[in-house]
Symmetry: C2
Subunit: 197 residues, 2 copies
Amino acid sequence: MTAKSVQFWFEFASTYSYLSIMRIEERAAEAGFEIDWKPFPLGPIFKAQGWDNSPFNIYKAKGDYMWRDMERLCAHRNLPFVTPDPFPQNSLSAARLALAAQDEPWFVDYCKGVYAAQFGAGKNIADPDTLSEIVLRAGADPAHWLSRMGEDDVKQALKTRSAEAMELGIFGAPSFIVDGELYWGDDRLDQALGAGG
Amino acid sequence: MTAKSVQFWFEFASTYSYLSIMRIEERAAEAGFEIDWKPFPLGPIFKAQGWDNSPFNIYKAKGDYMWRDMERLCAHRNLPFVTPDPFPQNSLSAARLALAAQDEPWFVDYCKGVYAAQFGAGKNIADPDTLSEIVLRAGADPAHWLSRMGEDDVKQALKTRSAEAMELGIFGAPSFIVDGELYWGDDRLDQALGAGG
């Protein structure tokens, strides 16, 4: 039997993507799904909607709520949670490095490492030293991969990924796609994996 | 033992408020909560955020997704669902009538009737005939209650309710408050009623 597949679209600066990346492997395995990992940049999509900042910063009540919601959910899931400073972080380098390393065996460890550093340890993921340490811990060569992220094919791959997200109607992160159906938000993970609704 | 209490903040034109009002009584009873019903107008809050329309109309991808999400959720919950035309509906009269009737024994039936007419039967809740029919079905006198909604004390009560919502940091509907904690969205109903998170 071929495993079912879930596309997992995540943005490295996104708080709710942190919630999903820390549980999607276990949930997908239980439900018999393979994960198609799709790191993507949400900035261009927000810009197209007329936002030059996170809506959580633009709309204060919504932002205040989000931080409290994250605190409660992380406490319930036993996930460490630190408010990133600044927020949102500039995730361009982290995303380019992810696109460069998409086919590497340490790719998932790298992605989870970016979230753990940012939301668990309060590090700035725009800082090359932070990325170096994450790559090293994932078991790869930081010097090589940090230089890869500046190359044209990698930059282009991220632009293509961004265009693909917009084409699919994605407007926020995390998003999940199963059988052409779009599901938005960590709250929809179980539903995307077939648990009704 | 005193029952615990959940404040339920709902806007009559809100799609996701429809989902919550159709299940909150059962869920609250199971969890041992009394419901403190708080119909309120979201328009003034959206206006304060710079929106003169529903964000689902302003942001097309988000709107397209919301309609599909509602379709799926209503199908799963065996709720009829018709896209209101126009959307959002002008809910001012429906909300004023609710405030006028807040202490009446048929108040909850009226509120659910507004949602059923709008999202189940495709009626326009700005139409006095629609409201008359809902009041009549709830068991009260339409002529009396439709005239009440134009009176100053009722208009003022709705303005006070709106200010109270803003004061509490409410920015969307439905919202729930338990022990001073704000929960936003039908997705948070179970959590508000104590199911973890």
